[in-house]
Amino acid sequence: MSSDLKITYSRKGMSSVTKDQIELNINGESYEVLVQPWWTLLEVLRDEIHLTGTKEGCSNGNCGACSVLLDGKAIDACLTLAVEAVGHKVTTVEGLAKNGKLDPLQEKFVEWGALQCGFCTPGFLISARGLLDQNPKPTEKEIRLALAGNLCRCTGYDKIVKAVLDTSGQPIESTYNPSQND
């Protein structure tokens, strides 16, 4: 999609009269969307713009599956109204890969097998990206703290932490390595 292309979405069966037309900047693209003021950014990303990489887990700020970057900082899209994102840059998991090339963080998640069902993965990638952009060489403790707002029911977190450490180019004090990892 070229960046000057503007697309108007509206939900079927709902009058657009009461909706606000807003412009959102998502992954560098500009989108014009009709929204109700009470729609969350998560709802608009998924249901209106069909960027479904961002997941809905709890919808109350506890699981982090809905994490997106707002001006480079990780936030929960389920606690943010879509109208609040006007004038800000939103990055979703779809925006991490550039020109068909995965973000190094995504590469390391693959290498380490830092996922099982994968439902939590977009959220983890976003909060880890937010961390590394601010702090390129985080300690393991800093990584675990930065990822504390993301829940994973499958992996036990260890491989996720190692994938992030590895992305930052730091040694991994570990009894196993990615190649032994299955």
Partner: protein, 288 residues
Amino acid sequence: MNSFTYESPKSLQEATSLLSQQSGVIRPLVGGSDLIDQLRTNRKQADLVMDIKSIPETTSMEFDANGALHLGSAVSCADTYANPTVRSQFTAIAESCELIGSIQIQNRASAGGNVCNSSPSADTIPALLVHDAIAVIASAKGLREIALNEFFTGPGKNVLETGEFLVKLVIPNPSANSASHYLRFIPREEMDIAVAGAASFVTVDSSGTCLQARIALAAVAPTPIRAYEAEKVLTGKIITEDLIDEAGVTAAASAKPISDVRGSADYRKQLVKVLTKRTLQKCLRTLK
């Protein structure tokens, strides 16, 4: 979510005129980490959500000529604890902002929202109380100030009246040789609500005599409270380990906790004793 309209006023005046003209329930919005879920689950209603993140007075964090911290009600927890002066001079406040939720929450949520939500377990409130914070409140009639100490009236309740909102918190410059710390107890390492919390603020003179002590507690009464009797134990004396023990016991006696899923009343009193002692010990270590 039930329907509401949304406004994002660009000035204090715009905000207060909105508040005075509109009928129905108007709810200020900062991080939404309390409000959005409360609206979604129908625990709160709103006819108008007023986003206060575009108002210069609420979004700024400044130090005045006297060194007092003017913390806008829409400044995020992350921006608050990232400030080096807040960390060194207003340590308990930085520590409490750093405990709230996750990074995702801290990047949006504010101490102002924590105060206005007025939960008995709110982490920033004891820290703000021991720092003698003042709430600056705006309405169409102008500004008024109230000591934060007198702000809370019950669980989730405060003195804000219809047509009013919190502009900022003003926190006096601590005198030389002061230190403050906040600690809470949660069963997990992160992302949990305090079973109990304690903040201490101590000022000593060159001989080590305690000139001033303030202690405040979270989650052990219908509102966050000061533990005045425990403060008196320390004031005017050289702070020894025995005195710290006594202050802990006295603070526990002033707590009026309930028993609930997070802990029994007795357990909470024990926690107050331990947390008060630890914050005081930490203050002494900082002052060394």
